[in-house]
């Protein structure tokens, strides 16, 4: 937060520099199942953010001392590729990405039914290809779709969005300029159906009233993103009503024992 509120980011008609209204999301594109090697994957564009997420697992957990005999561990790794930002970022984790990875891991651990897969690891890799404010939310949004695409048992799909304050007004889904010169940033991830908040951070300055307004805006936007996440998965698994060719498990026996 630069906190430089002299910078005019919203005009007298309430229109932002990229032409949006204060409660409007940037254009969003979500695709599921974009990578072949991974068990599940997703590509997300939110405005100028471009993010890929891949899921591997559940798989054998290494190192062994990290194994939990009662459940799977969820390990998310958020990373920005070197040319995703204007000044080249040295490859490898920094303190910021380690913190974000931890928060996203914790959020995902809540929705995944980890007790189904004791002693395993479910690994989620988030790579930011192009960054323009809100990458952790785009990353989490992609990770949730990738987890569902991997067939991981989970309570629900999780959307995320940031709300902030610019020129003393609460605005949805900050872009880079608003993030740089705005007065507050509040990323939120939640399960829209239950209202459970799984990620929340804040920096800057918000009054209680502004926070309430921001939260309301964020919740509404999460519902919208959630529908787009589900739509991406439905498109990937486009199902038509079939002819009911389901099979019983026991038959595999018969088949393998034959010959």
């Amino acid at each position: 937060m630069g906190g430089n509120s002299d910078m005019k980011l919203i005009d007298e008609n309430g229109i932002r520099i990229d032409g949006r209204k204060v409660d409007e999301l940037r254009p969003i594109k979500i695709e599921a199942g974009v990578l072949k090697s991974a068990d599940g994957s997703a590509y997300v564009e939110i405005g100028k953010n471009k993010v890929l997420a891949a899921v591997y697992g559940p798989r054998e957990c290494h190192p062994r001392h990290m194994q939990n005999p009662a459940k799977a561990i969820v390990q998310c790794k958020y990373n920005m590729i070197s040319f995703s930002v204007s000044d080249r970022k040295r490859p490898g984790p920094d303190r910021r990405s380690v913190e974000i990875s931890k928060l996203i891991s914790e959020a995902m651990e809540y929705v995944v039914f980890t007790e189904n897969y004791p002693r395993t690891s479910i690994d989620v890799y988030i790579e930011v290809l192009q960054a323009n404010a809100g990458t952790r939310c785009a990353g989490l949004t992609a990770a949730a779709v990738a987890l569902a695409d991997a067939g991981i048992p989970m309570k629900d799909i999780v959307p995320a969005v940031a709300v902030g304050k610019v020129n003393d007004q609460v605005v949805l889904d900050l872009n880079k300029e608003e993030d740089n010169y705005g007065q507050a940033d509040l990323p939120i991830a939640m399960i829209p159906r239950t209202g459970e908040v799984l990620l929340m951070q804040m920096d800057g300055h918000l009054t209680q009233a502004e926070f309430d307004q921001a939260l309301e805006m964020g919740v509404k936007a999460c519902h919208e993103i959630y529908e787009m996440q589900k739509d991406a998965l439905r498109r990937r698994y486009a199902v038509v009503s079939g002819e009911g060719e389901e099979e019983t498990k026991g038959l595999v026996h018969a088949m393998t024992e034959e010959a």
């Binding site: 990578l35 090697s37 995703s84």
Partner: protein, 257 residues
């Protein structure tokens, strides 16, 4: 570990197919997989490309800054090439600093570009001995199904060709296109059971005895080579691989014009 053990049945099957003149995916020995090249995919880079060869996919970005030249080349820009085998791309890739595989990969790509003098580094000199353009070429493997050398070379070359030198933002006059002199193309073959197969898939690489990467320039001249893996090639096999690389290199070059 489970993934690194090659099933004997799979190995034998690939060998038998090859003895029969075939490949697992039905390609001819000198047939390349489908190639897709998309440039300028990342706005924050001066040049970028996303390349797919079959199911192998890489993204490459070029970032440029102004800095000091090396003392022994005071009037030339600097190129630094780096490859990241990120765990997103394969169950066998692990997090951490570049290992010997990614270093070899980056160096082979770098060699093809450097030795062909693809980038006219002298035109990237701003003030001899003091200020030159520094090129950071970063390669990320996103999906791994064999033949990273060719995919990374192609991605790197496409990213460089698409680049615009950000002179204006650095107070050095008008932006200009990256000064490029030629298009080096790497074509890799592997030797399995004395047959030379171009553009190997991951399954083929796992059972291959040797790998030979040959980078050619616009004239079909050789600019960089790298023999890999712990087998041995006959001179005849080397010639076969080079012939294939020159011929397919010319076709691939047309794709990225």
């Amino acid at each position: 570990m489970a993934r690194s053990v090659v099933s004997e049945i799979k190995r034998d099957h690939i060998h038998r197919l090859i003895a029969d003149g075939r490949r697992v995916d039905g390609r001819a020995w000198d047939q390349y997989r489908e190639i897709m090249v998309q440039t300028n995919v990342v706005e924050t880079a001066e040049g970028s490309a996303r390349v797919k060869i079959g199911n192998t996919e890489v993204i490459v970005g070029l970032k440029m800054t102004v800095g000091e030249p090396f003392p022994d080349t005071p009037n030339r820009g600097v190129l630094s090439t780096n490859a990241e085998l990120i765990p997103m791309a394969s169950p066998s890739f692990e997090s951490g600093p570049p290992d010997e595989n990614s270093i070899e990969l980056a160096r082979v790509v770098d060699r093809g570009i450097r030795e062909s003098q693809m980038i006219d580094l002298e035109r990237l000199c701003v003030e001899p001995g003091k200020k030159v353009w520094i090129n950071f070429l970063d390669i990320y493997v996103l999906d791994f199904d064999g033949n990273l050398f060719d995919a990374c070379n192609l991605g790197a070359v496409a990213a460089i060709k698409s680049a615009t030198v950000p002179a204006k933002a650095n107070g050095l006059g008008e932006d200009f296109p990256m000064p490029v002199t030629c298009t080096p193309v790497a074509v890799t073959s592997v030797q399995i059971e004395n047959s030379i197969l171009v553009d190997p898939t991951l399954d083929e690489e796992k059972v291959a005895a040797d790998r030979l990467t040959v980078t050619t320039d616009d004239n079909g001249d050789l600019r960089a080579m790298q023999k890999g893996l712990s087998g041995a090639l006959t001179l005849e096999q080397v010639r076969t691989a080079i012939d294939t690389s020159r011929r397919l290199g010319a076709e691939i070059r047309k794709l990225i014009g």
